[in-house]
């Protein structure tokens, strides 16, 4: 398949993730939708790496996966901390980020 098609799938998944981040109210699901967007970026990176035949794009994708793992760890830690303080698990209710 031409690399174009992979990029179209990547764009589709990215916009779906963006819609999810905007629509969903549960921070857990917002994090899941962020994962969708990061993975769409990964797919585009690998498509371009295939286009050039260069392995450095794959290294880029691996680094993006590392960053996604860090984001998951910190985001889930935040959610657990919210739950411990008995704050509502809802991004609409969480307007003050201090303390």
């Amino acid at each position: 398949m031409a690399v174009n098609w992979y990029l179209v799938v990547s764009a589709l998944v990215f916009s779906l993730g963006a819609v999810g981040v905007l629509v969903r109210r549960n921070p857990l699901v917002v994090l899941l939708c962020l994962e969708l967007m990061l993975n769409a970026g990964n797919l585009a990176l690998l498509g371009f790496a295939r286009m050039w035949g260069d392995g450095s794009g794959q290294i880029f994708a691996v680094v993006v996966m590392v960053i996604a793992a860090c984001e998951v760890a910190i985001g889930l830690g935040l959610i657990v901390a919210l739950y411990r303080r008995r704050l509502p698990i809802d991004v609409d209710e969480l307007r003050e980020l201090h303390g």
Partner: protein, 229 residues
């Protein structure tokens, strides 16, 4: 090749739709797992074997399990109704925004000057995307990125523990302050009196007092047993 591409692409997009549209966060996480595995198969079609394997191991293996643990801990599935509370106007705006992003990206893909996008890609050398090549690139050409990524992982692990760890004042103490000697034990157990065999002498007949003073005289006639404490 084309058949597999469309199959995996449809599964991946369906998984993404499931993540966005399903109400129960647990099902969202499972849908993300389906999406990630289909995406790993697409990576395989792009000759990125190592990244595909890492995707399955790291994402579908570790990250989704972490999500499922937190969903179970927080218990988001008990009240699925308020999770989809965006107003109709906001939902419409979000849909418009997503459609705009997709159309923009499609225009950019179609109108790009990169002619090679239409082809199947460059000629690949032997071992493209293999663990050997990835390791060589990662440890020789991109060593700085590798080291920075490892530091980032370490910092994220410390931050996650600091954020989610148990802190004082956050919740009631499950275990009150207790000394080891507060644990119930038979009287005179663990004292010198028990060691020399005078255990029976020290136990009070009623058991009301914890440690009887040796007020009673030695009636057994053995060696005088002193109070150990």
């Amino acid at each position: 090749m084309g058949f597999f591409f469309f199959l995996f692409a449809i599964v991946a997009v369906a998984g993404a739709v499931g993540v966005v549209a399903l109400r129960n966060p647990f099902y969202c996480a499972l849908s993300l797992a389906v999406h990630l595995i289909a995406l790993a198969l697409l990576f395989l079609l792009l000759e990125a074997q190592f990244v595909a394997a890492a995707q399955v191991v790291v994402y579908a293996g570790a990250v989704v399990v972490l999500y499922v643990f937190v969903v179970v801990y927080v218990g988001g599935g008990s009240k699925p109704e308020p999770l989809w509370r965006a107003s109709a106007r906001q939902r419409g705006l979000a849909g418009l925004f997503g459609a705009a992003i997709f159309i923009e990206l499609s225009i950019a893909i179609l109108g790009t000057g990169l002619k090679a996008l239409d082809g199947d890609g460059a000629k690949l050398g032997a071992g493209y995307g293999s663990p050997g090549q990835i390791g060589e690139l990662l440890l020789i050409k991109h060593l700085l990125a590798f080291e920075l990524a490892s530091f980032l992982l370490l910092i994220a692990a410390v931050a996650a523990v600091a954020l989610a760890g148990r802190r004082q004042g956050l919740e009631d103490d499950v275990f009150p302050d207790m000394e080891i000697v507060d644990v119930r034990r038979p009287a005179a157990t663990g004292t010198m009196g028990e060691a020399v065999g005078g255990y029976g002498l020290l136990v009070p007949p009623t058991g009301s007092e914890p440690a009887p003073e040796p007020a009673e005289p030695d009636t057994a006639g053995g060696a005088p047993v002193g109070e150990a404490r």
